[in-house]
């Protein structure tokens, strides 16, 4: 189990990491970046899979199924649009 202060330490260090990583991103990349970070929380998919995997009643299965559908949409959609946007960014040198 990840418990008590260990959990708090993970939370604190991850929070600072996120802040630092983003603070150096230029404005021109803000939209792809929002989309990219949106993709990263698509990791909720693994949680949704585990929740569905342990669902016992039909209500739990329905909710769990919806959870996995939504999570897969988050992960796949986030990746596709981010990749499409970033692919277009080229410098003058690459253009000619």
């Amino acid at each position: 189990m990840i418990t008590g202060f260990i959990a708090l330490y993970i939370f604190m260090l991850a929070a600072f990491t996120g802040y630092e990583v983003i603070s150096k991103v230029p404005v021109i990349l803000h939209t792809p970046l929002m989309s990219g970070s949106n993709f990263v929380h698509g990791i909720v998919l693994v949680g949704a899979m585990v929740a569905l995997g342990h669902a016992d009643t039909s209500v739990e299965r329905v909710v769990g199924f919806l959870g996995v559908v939504l999570a897969a949409g988050n992960a796949v959609g986030g990746y596709v649009v981010t990749e499409r946007m970033l692919e277009m960014f080229k410098s003058s040198g690459e253009r000619r």
Partner: protein, 456 residues
């Protein structure tokens, strides 16, 4: 930690890949690689999760991934770049909904959790559900399905009562250790209603800030559910997105001269401040004259706004730019942080047209350059070039950072008609002595400019 060594090691690698991926996105040179690294992490984490011990319902799981994945892949591939903000809102809302669904399954489940775990599950459920319904409303608004902000009396009071009721339902579940179906359903209906009611009164201009905020909230909800499920990858990825998203939200709100409280608790234009009446007249110019002016300039700065993207003029503008460059004119692009529907959105639209990113500059980088620019071409932008933000203390946009287009020797403003901007404020720039109005559709005007320069 549960799940065995291989699963845990894979989650660890995935977390590292996510952070490296986000880090690489900090430069346009490595950004594309960044998303691929993060994508590899996601595939790895998803594949090993199938080996999680004691799971059932594999068929359902694969079907659900298929349905969600295919729909998202299909929609993501065909969405136009102008519609990107609402698409991001939609995918983000789905993530929030998934976090809420995880909490629902955990709360409905037979086993009783400890106090802290139940509390975190409830917090994640509340935040995730609000992010889900709120993002869907944001999507509907940006997609044009909901035209006007919906406001009613005692809005904030209603929201406060709803929140109190949700917390009350949460406390009942907390005391029981897990919830019966009724109380859990009540909790989620209330939470979803909060998301809807908080978002409907917010105007379209504030939507990017709201989407960014919901993105951060979804991250947080995922992190909380990660604690519930004892899943370190979810905790780290969710928290990183939560804090990064919070920073991004602050940056956007600051660029728009709006505070988070004013975005969430009041509507734009409610105060109905008109600002000082602008004196002078708008002076029109023909495209042929404007073309000559730009062709013989040394330095031209183009200021694109969302209007350019709506007119699909970005390709013509790039053609015009190349034509001017061949004549030896130095052309640069000046982007206001909130140009487009989202910070950086304009950069995406210009990149799509083929404009290289090294001739595109931020507000801070280019603002002093206007002093020695011969021509500033404003196309589809309005409030972000209004000098009243610098000078007129009574203006609602006073204090907002703007692009100093008025400092250029000549200003050409491409505009459909004489109407006001998004915020409904008269633009003092249009009435200046060095300003000329070039009326017409952005794409048509750009074609005329190209034509007149080619004829020289």
């Amino acid at each position: 930690m549960t799940g065995g060594f291989v699963i845990q090691a894979s989650y660890f690698v995935a977390a590292v890949l996510f952070i490296i991926g986000l880090k690489r996105m900090s430069s346009p040179v490595t950004a594309r690689g960044g998303i691929i690294w993060a994508g590899a992490g996601m595939v790895l984490a998803t594949v090993v999760t199938f080996a999680w011990p004691g799971m059932e319902n594999y068929l359902l799981m694969i079907a659900a991934i298929g349905v969600g994945g295919v729909l998202a892949w299909w929609s993501g591939k065909r969405v136009a770049m102008t519609d990107m903000p609402q698409m991001i809102a939609l995918y983000n809302g789905m993530g929030g909904g998934a976090a809420a669904a995880i909490a629902a399954v955990e709360l409905l489940g037979g086993e009783t959790h400890g106090f802290v775990v139940t509390l975190l599950a409830l917090l994640g459920a509340l935040i995730g559900a609000v992010s889900f319904s709120g993002s869907l409303i944001a999507f509907a608004k940006l997609q044009g399905w909901m035209k006007k902000p919906i406001r009613f009396a005692a809005q904030n009071k209603t929201n406060a009562i709803l929140l109190a009721a949700t917390i009350l339902a949460g406390i009942v579940i907390l005391i029981q250790g897990h919830g019966g179906p009724t109380i859990v359903a009540v909790f989620f209906v209330l939470a979803l209603a909060i998301g809807i009611l908080v978002t409907v009164p917010i105007g379209g201009a504030d939507m990017p800030v709201v989407i960014s905020l919901y993105n951060a909230l979804t991250g947080l909800a995922v992190a909380f559910e990660g604690f519930v499920l004892d899943n370190a990858a979810m905790i780290i990825a969710g928290t990183v997105v939560g804090s990064a998203g919070t920073l991004l939200t602050q940056l956007m709100a600051k660029a728009m001269n709006r505070s988070m409280t004013s975005v969430l608790f009041s509507g734009f234009g409610d105060a109905a401040v008109e600002g000082t009446e602008v004196e002078g007249t708008m002076k029109p110019i023909e495209a042929s004259d404007a073309g000559v002016m730009m062709a013989f300039a040394r330095k031209v700065i183009i200021i694109p706004g969302y209007g350019m993207a709506v007119a699909q003029a970005q390709h013509k503008i790039w053609e015009l730019t190349q034509l001017l460059q061949e004549r030896g004119v130095k052309v640069t692009f000046a982007i206001h942080p909130v140009a487009g529907r989202m910070p950086g959105h304009m950069n995406v639209l210009l990149a799509e047209a083929g404009v290289p990113y090294d001739i595109i500059y931020d507000l801070d980088e280019i603002n002093q350059e206007f002093d020695n620019a011969d021509v500033a071409l404003v196309i589809g932008a309005n409030d972000v070039v209004n000098p009243a933000a610098r000078t007129d203390t009574s203006s609602p946009i006073y204090g907002m950072p703007i692009l100093n287009a008025d400092k250029a020797d000549n200003v050409i403003i491409v505009k459909r008609g004489q109407g006001k901007g998004f915020s409904g404020i008269e633009n003092a720039l249009f009435f200046l002595d060095n300003s000329r109005m070039l009326y017409g559709d952005g794409q048509a005007v750009a074609s005329e400019l190209i034509h007149s320069i080619k004829e020289l």
